[in-house]
């Protein structure tokens, strides 16, 4: 048995699970999305569901909202993460404690974080109560609407809170592996501190930042629970809209739900493509 065949055999159970459950589900979903569902009498495949979904203003608005949530969360998280990593790589008293605290919420589930955001930032949450105690507001409605709001501030807050340490830990490890020698050389040749970061460090950590950001983008684009808990009733984030359509009592709307799920899957697939290209670039250096 050749070495590669052995490796393949060892990987077979994992691949079988991924292949059967993941691709099996994907194929079933794809069949339903093209209106092929013999159990309720749909036997003629067609693209009606995609046509209906893509021309539906609700879907387009949800798509826009989801794109906004994912892009804003990812960019904010990445910027804050790189900034934090730059601070945390220096040596200072209490650095270990700071690094520990920085990584702490990596272990907190998203749902728990969402409930925390809800308790803190809702119009009857802790901050609203403090504002009331300080006589800044009279009624809950006077507190700015940060949860269930049209700009998805609550959702983005939760994602940034959770993803900054995620990207940060990857970038920090990256920076520590690279070391500060290149920057030191640049400084010795007359570069300012900012120039050394901008032209020497950033290009080196960029593939790491990019691949971590792509993961965050793909996750926030497809995640259901946070927008379901903290989102407004309309427009709903794409996964919430797809789920609502999937639980519609009318069986005829199942194909549309699956078409939406396929669009989300396609977006994630594109992200994975970008990710693997970024990862390959990083590996090539």
């Amino acid at each position: 048995m050749s070495e590669s065949l052995k490796t393949f055999v060892r990987l077979a159970p994992t691949l079988a699970v991924i292949g059967l459950l993941f691709f099996g589900g994907l194929i079933m979903g794809l069949m339903r999305s093209v209106n092929y569902m013999p159990v309720i009498g749909l036997t003629e495949p067609n693209l009606d569901a995609y046509r209906a979904v893509l021309s539906d203003p609700d879907f387009l608005r949800s798509f826009g909202l989801t794109l906004h949530i994912s892009l804003t969360s990812t960019i904010l998280s990445a910027v804050l993460a790189v900034g934090s990593a730059l601070l945390l790589r220096r040596s200072f008293a209490g650095r270990r404690l700071a690094t520990f605290l920085f990584q702490l919420n990596l272990t907190v589930p998203h749902l728990v974080g969402a409930i925390g955001i809800l308790y803190l930032f809702s119009q009857s949450g802790s901050f609203a109560r403090l504002a009331h105690a300080a006589a800044l507001i009279d009624r809950p409605a006077d507190f700015p609407a940060l949860i269930y709001d049209p700009y998805a501030i609550g959702i983005i807050l939760q994602y940034v809170w959770k993803e900054v340490p995620f990207i940060g830990v990857i970038v920090l490890a990256n920076m520590q592996a690279i070391g500060q020698d290149y920057e030191a050389v640049a400084r010795s040749l007359g570069a300012t501190r900012w120039q050394a970061i901008r032209h020497v460090l950033l290009p080196q950590i960029w593939p790491g930042v990019l691949s971590a950001s792509v993961i965050v983008f793909a996750f926030t684009f497809g995640a259901y629970e946070i927008p379901a808990l903290l989102g407004a009733s309309y427009p709903a984030a794409l996964p919430v809209l797809a789920y609502r359509s999937y639980t519609d009592v009318d069986l005829a709307s199942r194909p549309e739900a699956m078409a939406m799920a396929m669009v989300i899957a396609l977006m994630s697939a594109v992200m994975i493509l970008i990710y693997t290209r970024a990862a390959r670039r990083r590996g090539g250096r």
Binding site: A141, A145, Y148, P150, S233, T247, D248
Partner: protein
């Protein structure tokens, strides 16, 4: 590829069930001697999928009902909590699609209304067994409100569990006199902007609230009974959307968003963001006070122009592998003792699905002696102004219409 995948799926799903006696064949159970069914069910398990949003209901099911099943029949009850009953129907539907006809994951569902219609429409229910249950004698099948589930004939495909009637709740410490009819409520909203909202349909309770406005806009429910009628719907719907769009800027958050679940509305009410909440199950208000979510000054009430009532049921899917155990579970749920326990305000406080006057004298006396939680409106008083539910076709149309005309 596909047949292999299905074969594997079927295999993986059916293997745990093979360990115990397979009681998936429903026709063999119908008319069978009850003791035989109990023996077939003994030592097995039953998977009951039900809405899981109330801790007290969950406790009653897991502890009391699960306890009776385990102690008296050796049956393990697995309660699977759902936020939306349609999730369970999707499982059964997916199984039917994959050819799983005798080894489904779902043995029983707490259900009514549109979801029941969907189960019937897709032939997902096991039917015709109700006479086999000894406690079937406690059910009044001649009552149209029991023999029809939201206007759809039950046809022996499910058995009643509870009756419920919609009620509103307010805090006497914050609101002096609550509006006692839909027109009064609309005036109240205009006089008190920002203090009222309702969950966006398809939330169950939010959709019921919208139907109350719909009945009001249609000038009464009489013209809406029977099969769905597009012309009558269009007339009443236009007026309904006008009313709801007119009050929208006066709602919580100026109507820019709506709560997405009754749990969210209850939270807003508890945190004093809004002045009213409501529920299809008024016993929830007593439970809310007991758990400390609401202050003791919270009271529930009905409307002079009536609130909508319904019956809810339990159903057994066609492909349940544990039909004998599911039958035993249904029989336990229908028993006078279990219905009495459920009626106790500290347990749940809901209205029985059986006829109390058909139960033994001591149970009847116990029912008569139940002291209602002071926050829960008297069911008898509520029932004086009861409105019927519409057929499922109307309900879907109203929900869809709301989403298109008010929600967006």
């Amino acid at each position: 590829m596909r047949p292999t995948a299905i074969a594997l799926l079927t295999l993986s799903l059916s293997s745990p069930a093979l360990v115990l006696a397979d009681t998936s064949d429903g026709s063999a159970l119908i008319g069978q001697d009850w003791d035989t069914i109990v023996e077939m069910a003994r030592g097995g398990e039953v998977n009951w999928f039900m809405w899981g949003g109330s801790d007290t209901i969950n406790r009653y099911v897991s502890d009391y009902v699960g306890g009776v099943l385990m102690d008296d029949y050796g049956i393990t009850l697995n309660r699977i909590g759902l936020t939306d009953t349609t999730e369970a129907i999707n499982i059964v539907l997916g199984e039917k699609e994959a050819g799983v006809t005798d080894a489904g994951a779902v043995d029983m569902i707490w259900i009514n209304g549109e979801n029941f219609r969907t189960m019937k429409q897709a032939d997902l229910a096991w039917c015709g067994y109700t006479e086999t249950l000894p406690n079937n004698v406690l059910i009044d099948w001649t009552n149209p409100a029991i023999a029809n589930d939201f206007g759809v004939p039950v046809d022996g495909c499910e058995v009643p569990w509870n009756r419920a009637q919609f009620a509103f709740a307010y805090d006497t410490a914050r609101t002096e006199t609550p509006p006692r009819s839909i027109p009064e409520l609309l005036d109240w909203i205009k006089a008190n902007p920002g203090q009222f909202t309702y969950p966006a349909p398809p939330d169950f309770n939010g959709a019921v609230f919208v139907r109350h406005v719909f009945y009001h806009a249609a000038g009464g429910v009489e013209g809406l009974l029977g099969d769905f009628d597009q012309a009558r719907y269009d007339a009443a719907a236009a007026a309904t959307w006008d009313i709801l769009n007119e009050i929208e800027p006066l709602l919580w958050r100026e109507g820019a968003t709506y709560p997405t679940s009754i749990t969210q509305l209850n939270g807003l009410f508890a945190n004093q963001e809004v002045a009213f909440t409501f529920d299809y199950d008024p016993s929830q208000f007593g439970l809310g006070v007991q758990s400390g979510q609401y202050p003791e000054t919270v009271m529930s009430y009905g409307l002079t122009d009536g609130t909508i009532g319904n019956t809810n049921y339990t159903i057994i899917p066609f492909n349940s592998p544990n039909k004998a155990a599911a039958l035993v579970l249904q029989n336990v749920l229908l028993s006078a003792e279990a219905q009495l326990e459920k009626a106790l305000p500290e347990v749940w406080g809901t209205v029985p699905g059986i006829e109390v006057d058909r139960t033994p004298a001591e149970i009847q006396a116990a029912f008569a002696g139940i002291e209602r939680h002071p926050s829960v409106v008297d069911p008898a008083e509520l029932a004086q102004n009861a409105l019927p539910e519409l057929q499922a076709g109307w309900i879907s149309a109203i929900e869809q219409g709301w989403i298109e005309n008010v929600g967006r």
